[in-house]
Every structure is written in structure tokens, then in C-alpha cells.
Amino acid sequence: MTTGDPTEVGVVFAALADATRRDVVVHLSSDGPATPTQLAARLPVTRQAVAKHLAALESAGLVAVSREGREARYRFTPEPLADAMSWITDVGLQWDRRLDALRALLGEEAG
């Protein structure tokens, strides 16, 4: 993804707007890969709810799943988050530059 493609950035932020999904990401990133059952034991939500949140995170590219025996194991995949942060940084820098130019323009007209 490039910084000119905000769609996936928006999807990442929408996925992380939910507090439980953020908790899931925090657990996966600090404790390593886990199954929905393991996550449900650590979080105040049901296994079914965890599975739903994991599906949302997976569609945003924030977790990846692998099958181990009967259960799915999820791991945190941070790339989309890094892309989202660089979109924020790049777009912010672009507006800083534009607003500096606007300030210079208005100063010029006044003087």
C-alpha cells in the first residue's frame, strides 16, 4: 500500500475503534499467537465474541490465522498498522507544508 491509498488505512482504524479488538491485538502482540479459546479466557468476553472480533481484525489484515489441530491460532500482523501510521504522518506533513504556503501567501498579499 502507498500513502496515496487511504482505504486500507480507514479499514484498519475502523477495526481498532473497538476497545475489545484493541485488547485482542494487545494480547496477541505481547503474549504471542493464541487461539480464540485462550483469548476468551484472558478477556471478559465469550469465545464467540472473540471469534467475531478476530474475523474483523483478519479482514483489516491485522491478524493472520493458521490451523493447528482442531483450533485456529491467530497471530498479530503489524504491517497494516505501520501503513496506517505512515499515512497519518505523511498526510499531516503535506498539510503542514500547504498551510505554511497559505500563511506565506496571505502575508504577501497584506504586505
Partner: protein
């Protein structure tokens, strides 16, 4: 963390609101700060083009014009062929003006779309589908 990816910048400029409004809506001054070459049809649904200093070309569609107060538009890179701004993954820019003792406060917010456009969703779904296909292949190997 905000529910959507958004960037906000606020500056106070030593000029009255009318001058700032002119500078943020007329093509000539816009071509001095928003980009190197800006065309805009300033009415809801009006279209425009912004050629950046770095020669990137963006298309825009005006969403809302509140004279002297607020301009909202959607913009996206021109090289992205799509039927609608939403399909192109357009981000939304709102430029708001407020009078303050020192002049005019300009607040700019650029927001990334919170839901994938149909085209992007299809691409992501097909990525997911090929990822599942790979997993199945690996599992059955």
C-alpha cells in the same frame, strides 16, 4: 484512538475571514498553496483537479460549501480509475474558518474512508481467498 483515520491541523492566520475564504476557494490563490495548479467548480457536486508541487494529480468533488465558513471535498489520485470517488478510495477534506481575535483560525481535517469501497473490498476479499487457498494447500501438502 479515533474511529476513523484522520489528520487535523489548526493554524491561526493574521487575516480576516473573507480574505482567507478567498484564498481557500479561488483557483488562483489555491494554486499558490494547495497545489501548483488548482481548478475547482465551487458548488456541491462540482469537480476539480489539483496538480501538486510534486506533479501528482488529484481529482476532487465538492461536497459542501458554506460561504465564508466551510468547504468540504473528496479527493483521490487521478491515476486510480474508478466509477465514483468512493470506489477510488477518496479521502475527505474539510476546511473550516473561524474568526478569532488574532485573525482567522483555519482547521483542516483529512479523513480516510472507514469502509472499503466495493472494488477495494473485492480485492481484499480475493486476497483473503487466496490466503485461505494457500493455507489449504499448505495443510494438505
Amino acid at each position: 484512538m479515533p474511529a476513523s483515520a484522520e489528520v487535523t491541523r489548526t493554524v491561526v492566520l493574521p487575516a480576516d475571514r473573507k480574505r482567507v475564504w478567498d484564498a481557500v476557494t479561488r483557483p488562483a490563490p489555491l494554486s499558490r498553496w494547495l497545489g501548483a495548479e488548482v481548478e475547482i467548480d465551487l458548488r456541491p457536486g462540482g469537480t476539480g483537479t489539483v496538480v501538486g508541487e510534486d506533479e501528482t494529480v488529484r481529482r476532487l468533488v465538492v461536497e459542501e460549501v458554506v460561504p465564508g465558513r466551510r468547504l468540504t471535498f473528496h479527493w483521490w489520485p487521478a491515476d486510480r480509475e474508478a466509477a465514483t470517488p468512493r470506489d477510488a478510495g477518496a479521502s475527505t477534506v474539510e476546511i473550516g474558518l473561524d474568526e478569532v481575535p488574532a485573525g482567522t483560525r483555519v482547521t483542516v481535517t483529512e479523513t480516510a474512508p472507514a469502509n472499503p469501497a466495493p472494488a477495494a473490498a473485492a480485492a481484499m476479499a480475493s486476497d483473503a481467498a487466496s490466503a485461505s487457498a494457500r493455507r489449504v494447500l499448505l495443510a494438505t501438502r
